[in-house]
């Protein structure tokens, strides 16, 4: 009973998160301006981290957690650097 409940929930959650990533990816491709793309890229990163957490629940292994943490970290650094770039046209001053 609880196994079917959980596997159904994990499946639905994965579908919803993939749809969310598709929406974000659409905005990355569509633009229209650079700041829209960066914002959507940040959302894409967070959605990917959530998808990995759900994968972790599905496989019952905590190893996915570290990958999700790394994605969140890299997403933060990337978005901060890109915002800096949009502000000044250079990343390191």
């Amino acid at each position: 009973m609880s196994a079917t409940l959980l596997s159904g929930a994990v499946l639905i959650a994965q579908i919803l998160l993939v749809l969310a990533m598709a929406c974000a990816a659409w905005r990355v491709l569509r633009g229209p301006r650079a700041q829209d793309r960066v914002l959507a890229l940040d959302a894409l990163y967070v959605n990917a981290a959530m998808l990995l957490l759900v994968f972790g629940i599905r496989s019952g292994s905590t190893h996915y957690f570290e990958a999700a943490l790394l994605i969140a970290l890299l997403g933060f650094v990337a978005t901060a650097a890109l915002s800096k770039f949009l502000m000044r046209g250079e990343v390191i001053e």
């Binding site: 009973m1 609880s2 196994a3 409940l5 959980l6 596997s7 159904g8 929930a9 994990v10 639905i12 959650a13 994965q14 919803l16 998160l17 749809l19 969310a20 990533m21 598709a22 929406c23 974000a24 659409w26 905005r27 301006r33 700041q35 829209d36 960066v38 914002l39 959507a40 940040d42 959302a43 967070v46 959605n47 981290a49 959530m50 957490l53 759900v54 972790g56 629940i57 599905r58 019952g60 905590t62 957690f65 999700a68 943490l69 969140a72 970290l73 933060f76 978005t79 901060a80 890109l82 915002s83 800096k84 949009l86 502000m87 000044r88 046209g89 250079e90």
Partner: protein, 121 residues
């Protein structure tokens, strides 16, 4: 994912569905809101309650499965809470700066006290 008691499976299920639905709504907002400054608010749904409830689901699931407290999801929660406002602030400021330089009518004009043109490379 088989030997989880029902009393734990139900909250994990609800939290997973709630979190992923919020993330999807946030991303839909990215698609259908009109302007950049309106879209800035949309992903916050996923990065606050969305990822929060998925982390909670994961914590509950692994704690019950391993019959000990698995708390390292807290680490990611702390990190997300600290990093999301920083990125959004940086990005919105950058967008405002670009729009002000182009003289867009959508944003407030540069105040006299704001740093003048000397910052332009």
């Amino acid at each position: 994912m088989n030997d989880l008691p029902l009393w734990a499976a139900i909250p994990v299920t609800l939290l997973l569905l709630f979190g992923s639905a919020l993330a999807l709504i946030g991303s839909i907002g990215l698609v259908n809101l009109r302007s950049f400054y309106a879209r800035v608010h949309a992903p916050t749904l996923g990065t606050t309650l969305g990822i929060g409830s998925i982390l909670l689901a994961s914590m509950l699931y692994f704690s019950v499965l391993r019959t000990r407290f698995v708390l390292h999801e807290l680490l990611m929660a702390v990190f997300i809470v600290l990093s999301t406002p920083v990125t959004l602030m940086l990005l919105t400021r950058a967008a405002l700066y670009r729009d002000q330089r182009e003289g867009s009518s959508e944003v407030p004009a540069v105040l006299p006290s704001d740093p003048p043109e000397k910052e332009v490379p």
